[in-house]
């Protein structure tokens, strides 16, 4: 089943690279989360332009990894973030 949803950060949430904290951090209302390297690769692609399918295809190609596993990882991470109001689907 195609997934045409386009994930993006809502207003008040952004991903920044912080040298002082040794990597990427997701800034949100009165909270912040350090993003691990896998999460960073997924989150960098949440531009609001790319569909879920396009993001999964891109990651599967870039990392030469099975598409189903990537799709499961992406779906879980972005679903959890959406529940926490850190991500929305356009």
């Amino acid at each position: 089943m195609p997934d045409e949803r386009k994930p993006r950060f809502p207003r008040g949430v952004r991903l920044v690279n912080s040298e002082a904290h040794g990597g990427w951090v997701l800034l949100a209302p009165e909270r912040l989360f350090k993003a691990d390297p896998i999460a960073v690769e997924i989150l960098k692609r949440c531009s609001g332009e790319a569909t879920m399918d396009a993001i999964v295809d891109d990651l599967a190609t870039t990392y030469n990894a099975p598409r189903e596993r990537i799709a499961a990882d992406v779906g879980k991470l972005l679903g959890d973030l959406a529940d926490k109001k850190l991500l929305e689907f356009g």
């Binding site: 207003r11 008040g12 952004r14 904290h21 800034l27 209302p29 529940d83």
Partner: protein, 365 residues
């Protein structure tokens, strides 16, 4: 020869900027000190701009523009703009009284990222009585609507105590109706003004336990609709809170006159030497100020903290509370059930009294 590398000092994540201690409200649990700073001593716009640039260079990611009521500063928009220009995530913590729709629009244009509005109760009459300010609730509701209209994310902050603890569910409903994406349910923390009003604010153990269970149930009920963050009622806890995420480890607080504190209540601990941004850079203060070094890490700890498996989890709890309740700022936070003074906390929690609040008020110098 043993060569060991000194542990690298962590960079701070957040800075609480107390722009002023002026505030129209009189909440009896205000986190400001009893000795409120005067308007004449407040830092100017340029100094705040320098602090924000130094903070960003030090690694700070988020700045919380607070007070008192930050809207009491005529240069709030300029201050916000300098924080945004420094690359910081800007959060406005306001009572909503003193911020007009026009100011909010200007703040949004200046790059404001998020707004937190405090609400004292879901019942307007009770809310205004707690704040000691007639008509406050209506103004909060109006500003909340304006925040949502402008598309900014909104958090509702509710300090919980005996007068409102039975209405947490209606507070969450109210926050949802206001269009908030997050609600912070913070049980009163007993320092300064709240300590002065402790007997009038303290809920019963039954109320506190019911509130904790209710928050859990509300989280499940509203999962995905609103984020519910809670600060526990720590007089009734088994373990202490990891106060400010560890002393001198994650955050710093700048008072209206430029004193830099490891936490907003730190000035109650006698003997600590605080440095001022008028005389030192923020990086110098973070690294070298005696107040920041006093309880950083775990070398200062006594038993039962020193050998405790949780010492890197809760850092011995709150230094201010340890001092206030035991007279020794290096003791275990007596909220911890392992503290030899834990029974004192249980006795204090049982002291509840009907009575009038001592409202937070500024005494003119």
């Amino acid at each position: 020869m043993n060569v060991s590398e000194a542990p690298r000092l962590p960079a701070p994540m957040g800075l609480l900027a107390e722009l002023t201690h002026r505030c129209p409200l009189g909440c009896p649990y205000c986190s400001n000190p009893l000795a409120l700073e005067q308007a004449a001593d407040e830092l100017d716009t340029e100094t705040w701009a320098r602090i924000f640039r130094e903070a960003a260079a030090l690694g700070v990611l988020q700045v919380h523009l607070s007070g008192g009521e930050p809207g009491a500063r005529r240069d709030l928009v300029a201050i916000t703009s300098t924080a945004h220009d420094a690359g910081l995530y800007t959060n406005l913590i306001t009572s909503a009284v003193g911020i007009t729709a026009q100011t909010l629009k200007a703040l949004t244009d200046a790059g404001l990222d998020h707004v937190q509005i405090s609400i004292q109760d879901s019942d307007p009459e009770s809310a205004d009585r707690i704040a000691g300010y007639d008509g406050g609730f209506a103004r909060k509701r109006a500003l909340a609507a304006e925040v949502v209209r402008l598309g900014l994310p909104l958090t509702i902050n509710m300090v919980v105590h005996r007068a409102n603890i039975d209405r947490i569910d209606s507070m969450v409903d109210m926050a949802l109706a206001f269009g908030a994406s997050r609600i912070e349910i913070a049980h009163a923390q007993y320092y300064g003004w709240a300590l002065k009003n402790r007997a009038a604010l303290m809920p019963t153990r039954e109320q506190a336990e019911a509130a904790v269970a209710q928050v859990e149930a509300l989280r499940k009920q509203h999962h995905g609709r609103i984020v519910i963050d809670a600060v526990i009622p720590d007089y009734y806890a088994r373990f202490p809170k990891a106060c400010v995420g560890g002393w001198g480890r994650r955050s710093l607080n700048v008072t209206p006159s430029g004193r830099v504190l490891p936490c907003h209540a730190a000035e109650i601990i006698p003997g600590l030497e605080f440095w001022n941004v008028r005389e030192h850079s923020l990086a110098d203060i973070w690294t070298n100020a005696p107040s920041f070094r006093a309880f950083r890490g775990s070398d200062w700890m006594q038993e039962p903290c020193r050998s405790c498996a949780r010492k890197e989890i809760d850092f011995g709890g709150c230094r201010c509370q340890a001092f206030l309740l035991t007279g020794d700022a290096a003791a275990a936070d007596p909220v911890c059930h392992l503290s030899p003074r834990h029974a004192d906390v249980e006795a204090l929690a049982a002291q509840q009294a009907q009575g009038d609040y001592t409202y937070r008020r500024q005494v003119k110098a």
